[in-house]
């Protein structure tokens, strides 16, 4: 802590393989910090110790900790234990505890504080590395894909689609187009490991006649710097992204199917008081709008076998950001795609939904066993629906639900919205079907 009582954290400027000093985790005075961070009336003293938070927290019990206990220990001044508990890396900062707490107490803020207090070399290296990668190039890609490579991959895939899919010989994937309406971001996973997965979204833009562009700078969606508790780094990433959108003069930063990329950008712009000359919007909102306007004439006639679907509400865009309004849009889109009778809601849902356990950097943290314990709730939720597929507009949710599905013996698939939209429209290319199971593939032939 510096003299003014604020925490100074900087990203380590070390090369790979450089040994780090064995630093200690400093002790935070949680009670004092809570007074500073939590709004009046929602302080720790207001806690009724009712346990609703813990009862509804999927991280309860992991590392022998839960949110109520966290608060109790803070009250009792057990600062050393709280400063060092690895549990802070298992809490995904999903804010479900906050949502169900009658006193509106927000534990995730203290978890963020605790995370930022850990020395970089003690933090889960996977999250730290992902953040370093993001800072390493102008792409802000957690997989370190440089701008030139991104431009190359996009063009390469585009040429192939034009050549092999006659209906899309005029498909566009604009890059750095000045003044385009939408600035569209992109998860690195696609250009890096499954480039064909970019195509369905391009097709959707093509169909609705969207004026959009990718950017060679600040294009990547993922952002693990916030999760690593590195505020300086979080600022740097968001600054780069905001600058990129401002430079291109786009009116809307359109967030792809990803939860935390939206949240970290939206919160970052507010927190760091950045000048963003554009609106932040979610692709889901536009899917819903385009379907309502008839620009995306999807229907559920293809679902002749009555295959059942459920949806996963990413907490980063639902509970923590837009609230139930966007959850309703998701359901509207889903119903239009699969048929009213084939949609089964998970329980609980919308703002009350459980985090899947992939968020907060959990997937990157290397704590596999804990992450799966956390994910057991999600697994039960999905299993209770009996659905064959989960639709979700979030990459982390996607990966986590696939993983727990395999681990706990579920037999459901996880699909992106763009896949199902193109499937419904009959324009899903052969290479764009990775996430379809045999039941769906059969309907396509």
């Amino acid at each position: 802590m510096d003299k003014n009582g604020s925490y100074l954290v900087t990203a380590p400027k070390q090369e790979k393989g450089t040994p780090m000093a064995d630093t200690q985790i400093a002790t935070i005075n949680f009670k004092e910090e809570a007074l500073r961070l939590l709004p009046e009336g929602a302080s720790f003293e207001a806690c009724l110790t009712c346990g609703l938070c813990s009862s509804g927290c999927p991280a309860s019990g992991i590392e022998n900790m839960d949110p109520r206990k966290f608060i109790r220990m803070a009250e009792l001044g057990m600062d050393v234990e709280l400063s060092t508990t690895p549990w802070v890396w298992c809490c995904t900062q999903c804010k479900r505890c906050h949502h169900v707490c009658p006193m509106n107490i927000d534990i995730s803020q203290l978890v963020f504080l605790a995370r930022s207090n850990w020395p970089e070399d003690k933090k889960p290296s996977g999250i730290v590395r992902s953040c370093q990668m993001i800072l390493a190039t102008d792409s802000t890609s957690a997989m370190g894909l440089p701008p030139a490579d991104f431009v190359f991959v996009v063009d390469d895939v585009l040429q192939e689609v034009r050549a092999t899919q006659p209906a899309f010989q005029h498909l566009q994937a604009p890059m750095d187009k000045q003044g385009a309406h939408f600035f569209v971001n992109q998860n690195s996973r696609e250009p890096m490991s499954e480039p064909d997965e970019m195509v369905p979204l391009w097709k959707i833009f093509h169909l609705v006649g969207a004026d959009w562009t990718y950017s060679s700078k600040g294009w990547a969606a993922e952002n693990f710097c916030m999760f690593s508790g590195n505020e300086t780094a979080w600022y740097e990433v968001i600054k780069k992204r905001v600058d990129a959108v401002n430079e291109l003069g786009c009116q809307v930063w359109l967030n792809t199917e990803c939860g935390h990329s939206y949240y970290t950008m939206w919160q970052g712009v507010k927190r760091f008081n950045l000048t963003a000359n554009f609106r932040l919007e979610s692709l889901i909102t536009y899917y819903a709008r385009w379907i309502r306007e008839g620009k995306l004439p999807v229907n559920s006639k293809w679902n002749t076998k009555g295959i059942k679907f459920t949806v996963q509400d990413p907490c980063m865009i639902v509970r923590k950001a837009y609230g139930d309004a966007i959850a309703e849009d998701m359901r509207f889109v889903t119903r239009a795609l699969v048929g009213e009778e084939n949609f089964i809601d998970m329980q609980p849902n919308r703002s009350a939904n459980y985090c899947c356990g992939g968020g907060g950097g959990f997937l990157q943290a290397g704590m596999t066993e804990h992450r799966r314990t956390y994910g057991k709730r999600k697994f039960d939720q999905i299993a209770a629906t009996g659905a064959a597929y989960v639709l979700t507009p979030c990459h982390n949710c996607h990966s986590q639900m696939e993983d727990i599905g395999h681990f706990y013996g579920g037999n459901y698939g996880v699909v992106h919205f763009w896949t199902l939209i193109c499937l419904s429209l009959g324009i899903l290319g052969d290479n764009e079907r990775t996430y379809l199971g045999p039941d769906l593939l059969e309907l396509l032939d």
Binding site: G41, L48, C50, G51, L52, S54, S55, G56, S60, G61, I62, N64, D66, H98, H99, V100, C101, P102, M103, N104, V269, K270, L274, A276, F278, R279, L280, R319, K320, A321, Y322, G323, D324, E328, Q347, P348, N349, R350, S351, A352, T373, R377, D380, Q381, A383, A384
Partner: protein
């Protein structure tokens, strides 16, 4: 990046999401009144699921058997008690409407009968209540018939002990035993009823549990479980477990955080928006202003500022726990409009010396004053606004804890407040009908 204020207009804004607020929303929806509701829904999750009307009369030793008759008595002895200010027939209608709504939306309840039901508490004592969830109904029946029965509890579950239930009931229920079992596939030390309830919505978990339950029941044909039988389709979960075990099964409420309350909260949060209510579940109204044209409510949610223009408002913000009333060194205040609060003369009169004093404590009867049309009053005895009505335990002259009348006061007063708001709305739309 600009934060845009989201604007809503509505006929009725309900401030508060306790039982009173939710009951008001239900009554409003049924009357086709456009409604917005704001308030933290957390505390609803504390209820046992039992809907009490009137379980205890002040000063009386015995519990109330016939709440309808007791209401008549109350009317004579405490005419300013909120329950005395609602016609008995309206209270009956309110309970009918409320429980029917819950039933239609997935949680079946017993309808109000002539007499109170003697129900089991989490610790195995008995209490009088009016309506119980269908999942719990077999318990009071088994108790009345003294059927051989086993109370099941679970390794790692706090807040419910079969031994304690049996110890408290064995004098009156001779064939009552208990068994402790493990819940299928739970790895951690402490397990919460909420987690168990959700796990029981998975058919495979039910099958595993059914197997264990059959063994634990022994010769008994009836078993009592802590309230864990599913979250959003409890009646189905119970029916399935009964089918799989061949036993009659009932639930007993557990200590908070308990499932029956969470069921209600999640039901309200899901169903009301579907019925057209603008529900803003986690937030507090920060300002409420009235002018000639209506009321303006200001608040924030995580996304940004919200403004609601409403023709009428129901204030159902509860007492101290929920923040409707605030205790300050110089007295008790109503926090949103600074309405006058009827309260003991000074702090020394808040409590009697002993907490268990049979006369109760004066502070538990504090609250706001209303007129006969449920409009909160100013100091001079005039209504604060013709558009403002009140419901729930924020209203003075009742001690719902001692009276075992929490849900009763909430539902009855909400019924009246909505009726009065509806009357106002009708008059405003058809001025010639104004009386």
């Amino acid at each position: 990046m600009k934060e845009e204020t989201r604007n809503f207009t509505t006929q009725l804004a309900i401030i508060g999401s306790g039982i009173a607020g939710f009951a008001a929303s239900i009554f409003a929806v049924n009357r086709k009144i456009a409604t917005a509701q704001i308030g933290n829904t957390g505390a609803v999750a504390y209820t046992t699921g039992y809907l009490d009307l009137l379980g205890k009369m002040d000063g009386a030793q015995a519990a109330v058997n016939d709440p309808w008759q007791a209401l008549e008595q109350l009317r004579k002895s405490q005419s300013n008690h909120p329950l005395s200010r609602v016609a008995v027939a309206d209270i009956h209608r309110g309970f009918n409407e409320f429980t029917a709504f819950l039933g239609e939306c997935g949680i079946a309840y017993s309808q109000p009968e002539k007499r109170n039901i003697t129900a089991l508490t989490p610790v195995g004592t008995l209490k009088q209540t009016l309506c119980v969830p269908a999942t719990m109904a077999a318990g009071p029946r088994a108790f009345a018939a003294k059927k051989p029965c086993v109370i099941i509890d679970f390794i790692g579950l706090k807040g419910f002990s079969g031994r304690q239930v049996v110890a408290n009931l064995q004098d009156r229920w001779p064939n009552l035993g208990t068994q402790r079992i493990a819940f299928p596939d739970m790895v951690h030390g402490e397990i919460y009823p909420e987690v168990m309830a959700r796990a029981l919505e998975v058919p495979a978990t039910r099958e595993k549990l059914a197997y264990t339950l059959k063994n634990a029941a022994g010769q008994a044909k009836v078993i009592g479980l802590p309230a864990i039988l599913g979250m959003h389709c409890p009646d189905h979960v119970r029916a399935e477990l009964e089918r799989l075990t061949g036993l009659e099964i009932f639930e007993i409420p557990t200590m908070p955080p308990s499932v029956p309350g969470i069921r209600l909260r999640e039901l309200f949060e899901q169903v009301l928006p579907k019925k057209g209510v603008t529900l803003i579940p986690q937030q507090k109204v920060t300002a409420l202003d009235f002018d000639d044209r209506g009321a303006t409510l200001s608040l924030f949610d995580s996304y940004g500022p919200i403004r609601i223009q409403a023709q009428t408002v129901i204030l159902a913000t509860g007492r101290f726990l929920s923040g409707g009333l605030e205790a300050h060194p110089d007295g008790i205040r109503e926090h949103l409009l600074d309405l006058p609060v009827t309260q003991p003369a000074d702090r020394t009169h808040w409590y009697h010396d002993r907490y268990t004093d049979p006369r109760g404590h004066a502070i538990h009867r504090a609250g706001i004053e209303i007129d006969d049309t449920f409009r909160p009053l100013r100091l001079d005895g005039r209504p604060y606004s013709d558009r403002l009505f009140a419901a729930g335990i924020i209203i003075a002259h009742q001690d719902w804890i001692r009276g075992r009348s929490g849900a009763g006061i909430a539902i009855a007063t909400a019924f009246r407040a909505v009726a009065e708001a509806e009357r106002y709305l009708l008059a405003e739309t058809n001025p010639e009908k104004r009386v």
